[in-house]
């Protein structure tokens, strides 16, 4: 027993050291953001010799060249709407495919599976050109809608439903419920775990997407946080690492908070859903 305890203490210590190393870049990012320009350019120390808030003030000042606040709003709109639409579209389709004897079911299922094997890069540039042709670049539409064409969600939920017992639904039909009622009152509650996972995966995918938004947005006001930070890396802030780090801190904090909150749902979702 004593030996086991020893082993456990060693393991915890080792893991803790790894964890500290792992989050070190984040710590460095935070401390650098409080350094002055000249110190951030040259000093090798972790802690600032002289603490300053000027970079944060610059970011949030009216004359800032970066639209940090607008980017945060855009990111919130795009990720939330995108995720809601994906869930809405996919749940409906998966339900109909798994439970209702609809026409063309086999073809649709085949499409879903074939589409899963085709890499996204193939549709990316033509999709961009199509949006350009209909003058919808630089709006929320291309930032939100195309994600709903993905078939992974339909596939996941369909698989989940297919192996799910139907007794409850049949009982509900016998009681005279419509398909819509069955979907919202019987099916939806039981597929919640897989929907949660799909939601979090979609959320992270949209939030993290860089290439697509960089194609379809033009103005600074339409950028997402991920895209905005790229502009800062390539643009004027390139000369100022402290300001750069302050921007990344600001861009990262909201996502981290959402993430910490969603973490338990995500872990649970992955366990239950079958992304395995």
């Amino acid at each position: 027993m004593k030996k086991k305890r020893m082993k456990s203490v060693l393991l915890v210590t080792f893991t803790s050291i790894l964890a500290v190393l792992f989050i070190f870049p984040l710590i460095w990012m935070v401390f650098t953001s409080f350094k002055t320009l000249s110190e951030s350019l040259s000093s090798a120390g972790l802690f600032p010799n002289e603490w300053t808030l000027e970079h944060y003030q610059t970011i949030f000042s009216a004359s800032a060249d970066s639209n940090m606040v607008q980017w945060t709003i855009n990111t919130a709109v795009v990720t939330l709407m995108g995720t809601v639409i994906v869930i809405f579209v996919d749940v409906l389709a998966a339900y109909a495919l798994a439970r209702l004897n609809i026409p063309g079911k086999k073809i649709i299922l085949a499409i879903v599976i074939i589409a899963l094997t085709v890499p996204g890069i193939v549709t990316l540039f033509p999709a961009f050109y199509l949006f350009k042709s209909v003058n919808l670049l630089d709006t929320y539409y291309p930032l939100i809608l195309p994600y709903s064409a993905g078939t992974l969600g339909v596939f996941l939920i369909y698989n989940f439903l297919r192996s799910f017992p139907q007794e409850l639904e049949e009982a509900a039909y016998l009681d005279g419920a419509t398909q819509w009622q069955v979907l919202t009152k019987v099916i939806f509650p039981s597929i919640k775990p897989v929907v949660t996972t799909l939601g979090v995966v979609t959320f992270l995918a949209i939030y993290n997407d860089f290439l697509w938004p960089s194609l379809v947005t033009n103005s600074d006001e339409m950028k997402t946080l991920t895209l905005g930070v790229a502009t800062l890396v390539q643009g004027s802030n390139f000369v100022n690492p402290a300001a750069m780090m302050a921007s990344t801190v600001v861009a990262t904090v909201p996502a981290l908070l959402i993430f910490l909150w969603a973490n338990k749902y995500f872990v649970k979702g992955v366990t239950n859903s079958g992304i395995k």
Binding site: S8, V12, T15, L18, F22, P25, L26, M29, T32, S42, A44, F88, L92, A93, Y95, A96, L100, N101, I102, P103, I108, I111, A115, L116, P119, I121, T123, F125, A127, L130, L145, P146, S148, A149, G150, F155, N159, P165, L183, V194, N208, F210, L211, L227, A230, V233, Q234, S247, T248, A251, T252, A255, L256, F259, V270, T271, S273, G274, I275, K276
Partner: protein
């Protein structure tokens, strides 16, 4: 079921949103992309006429402008896959094993810590590593110099193999949490009775890992490998922002090459052809991985009856063997209910 002809068509209404969005945002761009790739199509002025397979021929003829771009970036991308996939799988599995052996309460804590970096966007990660690994007076260089580990500064982002090292480190740090989480969950589901039985038999840790853990997380490992290779194929943000494709275009990835062809050279037609070729290569590689794991599985099945169930689970699925799990989860639930 309880379906009349009318309800059958009402049921069809449920699929319409999906079908519409699939048609508009997936099928149309796909077909349009193929069509564009057969034309002399400029980003600026549009279509200059049908040219058949000329774009493809240009890309595949050695020593032409687009061939150089495509081959060089393909080579770089494959290099990145070779360099990044093993650490992304092995380190994440190692972390997962470590976490799995921790006391229960700490498990959740450390799982969250190592998953944390996944919430940071690729652009922020790149900004961070760009400055950490600065050549002239960067933090890592100063640290190594001050501790005497190197005698002269290393040009991390401008010299090979360091440039790949930085990109791989940044990628591993950024995405390892996701793979780890999948492994942690898979390890959670290994039947503890098996370990207990093995303990009674006096099995070593390695043997327990080899004969109990590994076979049980086999499916998830294949899934992790396939998705990790696909993710590494799509290298873009890290090499664009950290090394700008350098030094000497040695980290310029396929997507960067396609992007430069479309926007720099104005050639949407050639770019679309490149994208289709890249898609084809990815599908072939994914297919190969799938076929190989299928074949191995079959061999194992023949060697032992107990493997049979696993075999059937792993084979009746699409590109990612995602469907293998719900069945097991549900089975468990049902068992609980009864």
């Amino acid at each position: 079921m309880y379906m009349t002809k009318r309800t059958k068509w009402i049921g069809f209404l449920f699929v319409i949103p999906f079908l519409l969005s699939f048609l508009i945002f997936w099928l149309t761009p796909l077909l349009y992309g193929i069509w564009i790739s057969l034309h002399d199509f400029r980003l600026s002025v549009g279509n200059n006429g049908f040219i058949g397979l000329k774009n493809y021929v240009d890309i595949l003829t050695p020593d032409t402008l687009y061939n150089n771009v495509f081959m060089n970036s393909l080579k770089n991308t494959l290099m990145f896959i070779v360099l990044s996939v093993p650490p992304l799988i092995l380190i994440s599995l190692g972390l997962a094993l470590l976490i799995d052996n921790l006391p229960k309460r700490l498990k959740t804590f450390f799982r969250t810590v190592f998953f944390l970096s996944y919430a940071i966007s690729v652009t922020a990660v790149s900004a961070l590593y760009l400055w950490l690994f600065g050549a002239n007076g960067g933090f890592i260089n100063n640290l190594l110099l001050n501790t005497g580990m190197i005698s002269s500064p290393i040009n991390w982002t401008g010299d090979q193999p360091y440039a790949w090292f930085v990109i791989v480190i940044a990628t591993v740090w950024w995405t390892i949490g996701f793979n780890m989480l999948l492994f942690v969950n898979a390890l959670d589901e290994v039947d503890p009775n098996l370990y207990e039985a093995a303990d009674l038999d006096g099995a070593s840790s390695w043997n327990k890992f080899r004969y109990i853990t590994l076979p049980d997380i086999r499916n998830i490992s294949i899934f992790v490998m396939i998705t990790t290779v696909i993710a590494s194929f799509n290298l873009y943000g890290q090499s664009l922002l950290i090394t700008r494709g350098g030094p000497s275009q040695s980290t310029s990835s396929l997507i960067m090459g396609i992007h430069a062809t479309v926007f720099g050279n104005n050639q949407l037609g050639v770019g679309s052809a490149m994208a289709l070729l890249m898609g084809l290569i990815m599908m072939v590689i994914t297919g190969l991985q799938y076929w190989m794991s299928y074949r191995n599985n079959k061999e194992e099945t023949e060697s032992g009856k107990s493997e049979k169930k696993r075999f059937t689970r792993a084979t009746n699925v699409g590109p990612t063997n995602v469907s293998s799990r719900p069945a097991t989860t549900i089975e468990k639930k049902e068992r609980k209910v009864t």
